[in-house]
């Protein structure tokens, strides 16, 4: 799970060129790299988030035209930076995939990817409503899946499965309505 702690990684040949390219461009800015089941993950700082993504899209030899999915994650055990935003890039022309990650502290804002891929719009809205991660520069950060008056961030680990507000069976009102 904690990708940056892995010190030695083996990168297969197919991914090597991608990794080399990104490393050559950003070098120190890559906070961590991991490789698991043929998938390459690169962790970057929130400040470099948009720059790296835009580079991956625009560099012809990388050509990650598409953002396959963008999601949030919550690691309550990690006190300093409990939140994570994960983006999966896909290159249709080269049939390759890449995972970009960034880690955020509580209340820290992430820059939006909507300027790079339009499809990040709903994904970021969902991530915001589920984790409370605010995406700076997102033009339309409304609730997407939950009701407009919903309170809380349901996908955080401290949010109970049964919910906190609406949707529960109100046993306390039994016989009154």
């Amino acid at each position: 799970m904690e990708s940056s702690t892995q010190t030695t990684i083996e990168i297969p040949e197919a991914m090597e060129s991608v990794f080399a390219k990104v490393e050559q461009r950003f070098g120190e800015k890559l906070l961590g790299t991991s490789f698991f089941r043929g998938e390459l993950s690169i962790t970057v700082a929130p400040a470099d988030w948009v720059e790296v993504a835009a580079y991956c899209r625009d560099e012809p030899s990388l050509a990650f035209e598409r953002l396959d999915s963008l999601l949030g994650n919550h690691y309550p055990a990690r006190k300093d930076r409990p939140f994570e935003v994960v983006a999966h890039l896909t290159s249709v022309s080269r049939t390759a995939r890449l995972r970009l990650k960034t880690q955020l502290a509580e209340g820290e804002k992430a820059p939006t990817l909507t300027g790079v891929w339009a499809s990040a719009g709903w994904d970021e809205r969902e991530t915001w409503e589920m984790y409370g991660i605010v995406f700076e520069g997102h033009s339309d950060l409304r609730r997407l899946l939950t009701t407009e008056d919903f309170e809380g961030f349901p996908l955080r680990k401290d949010f109970p499965l049964r919910g906190t507000v609406g949707g529960r069976i109100r046993t306390d009102l039994k016989g009154k309505i």
Binding site: M1, E39, E65, V86, V92, W117, A118, W122, T146, L161
Partner: protein
């Protein structure tokens, strides 16, 4: 299979190239035209706002599109989903990997097996389970049947979006054959839960292969019948050619996948590009069209149906013997019939039910070519029996996001057809 290998040319050939539709505007022209409309109406015209959905006869499920209309032309759209949200991703974090399979049925309930399959592929990738060859073939057959049933249903509903009501019921009639096959296969018609981690739930029942072969031999004839009704229908051509054009760049940036992407001339098909199940062992052609309008999306899906029949036929021909479930005690649920007899199987069952499978730490992302588009599953595991985080990148979610962008500058009557051509199911979209 190359064209020469076949007895006849592609069954679509005669129909499609008989009368090629008139030249249509290029996407650039179209975009310029849309921009002109937008500038014309911006500010100067009083618009009326209508709410298309969530209770609207042509909105698929409870999708809501709030449209601003200038006369009959849509100038602004706000898409709203979430009326069917069930918190599937939260549920996943409280269920073992096995227990989550039935929940995936409820994502895209039109093609449940594709959802089961995509999830199981992701979990198998995470666990490193090797799926037996027979199971992979069975999965391929079921997946293609699923694609057939999805496309046939889509076809009926889509043509009904243009006002032809009879076609809807004709399609439902033929979908029954496939649902019957699924009922024989796993006892359920809609929510199959047929895939298992490491294989499938049951072996093919007695006589199923024969029945399946009958259906896939018979369906192309029905598809020909559809073609005679629809493909050259003047009204359908007028309603669909040149409508809802999306450029390849737009499709990528909105993450539109599946038939909609292939209709724009991108031969992207995960069955070819990242083969799973037995797709690398069968030969088929990726259906591609080039104009990226409503009509071409229809053509792509029609071609795909012929190809699906073709794939199923090949799989039935080459169906290998052997196990239909991997023998992998750490990750795979044992067969129920063994649990009562075999001590090892009983222990295995006990462990899996009460604790869950053994999973390595790590994260995987696996996508399969579901009938509606690419269905991606992201699993992050902390080594426990339940996922630490499971994310579903479902095609309808992104299509629902992208399609309102297509609406702008189109006419109200066309919006229905464009929306239908994206093939959206709200269970898939809201999760």
């Amino acid at each position: 299979m190359s064209a020469s290998d076949r007895d006849t040319a592609h069954p679509m050939q005669d129909h499609v190239h008989m009368r090629k539709p008139k030249p249509r505007p290029t996407p650039e022209e179209l975009r310029a035209r849309k921009e002109a409309t937008r500038q014309r109406v911006s500010g100067s015209v009083e618009t009326i706002t209508v709410s298309m959905g969530p209770q609207h006869p042509s909105m698929h499920g409870v999708f809501q599109a709030v449209l601003d209309l200038d006369g009959e032309v849509i100038v602004n759209t706000d898409a709203r989903i979430g009326n069917l949200h069930r918190g599937v991703e939260k549920l996943a974090e409280y269920r073992t990997y096995h227990q989550f399979i039935p929940v995936t049925d409820r994502l895209d309930y039109i093609s449940s097996f594709a959802m089961n399959h995509g999830y199981c592929e992701a979990v198998e990738k995470l666990m490193g389970v090797h799926v037996p060859r027979r199971a992979r073939y069975i999965r391929t057959i079921a997946h293609e049947l699923c694609r057939l049933s999805n496309h046939i249903l889509w076809l009926g509903v889509h043509i009904m979006d243009f006002g032809a009501q009879t076609f809807f019921l004709i399609c439902f009639r033929d979908r029954e054959y496939i649902l019957d096959l699924f009922e024989m296969l796993c006892g359920a018609r809609l929510t199959h839960s047929y895939a298992r981690i490491g294989g499938v739930a049951k072996d093919l029942p007695e006589g199923w292969e024969h029945k399946c072969r009958e259906v896939v031999d018979f369906l192309p004839k029905r598809l020909d019948e559809y073609q005679r009704l629809i493909t050259q229908n003047r009204i359908f051509l007028k309603r669909s050619v040149g409508i809802g054009i999306f450029t390849v760049e737009d499709l990528h940036t909105w993450r539109v996948t599946g038939p909609c992407l292939r209709a724009a001339g991108v031969p992207r098909d995960l069955r070819k590009d990242e083969p799973y199940a037995a797709y690398d062992e069968v030969e088929f052609e990726v259906a591609v069209e080039y104009n990226s309008d409503v009509y071409d999306r229809f053509l792509v899906r029609m071609k795909e149906m012929y190809e699906s029949c073709n794939i199923i036929r090949q799989c039935l021909d080459n169906l290998p013997d052997g196990e239909f479930l991997a023998e992998d005690a750490a990750h795979v649920l044992p067969l129920k019939k063994n649990v009562m007899r075999d001590a090892a199987a009983m222990v295995q069952d006990f462990v899996h039910v009460f604790r869950g499978p053994q999973v390595p730490k790590g994260e995987v992302y696996r996508a399969v070519e579901a009938p509606k588009g690419e269905f991606g599953v992201y699993i992050s595991s902390d080594g426990g029996p339940k996922p630490q985080r499971l994310h579903l990148a479902t095609p309808s979610f992104f299509h629902g996001q992208a399609v309102p962008a297509l609406f702008e500058g189109e006419m109200l009557a066309d919006s229905v057809g464009i929306f239908g051509s994206a093939d959206i199911v709200l269970g898939d979209s809201d999760r």
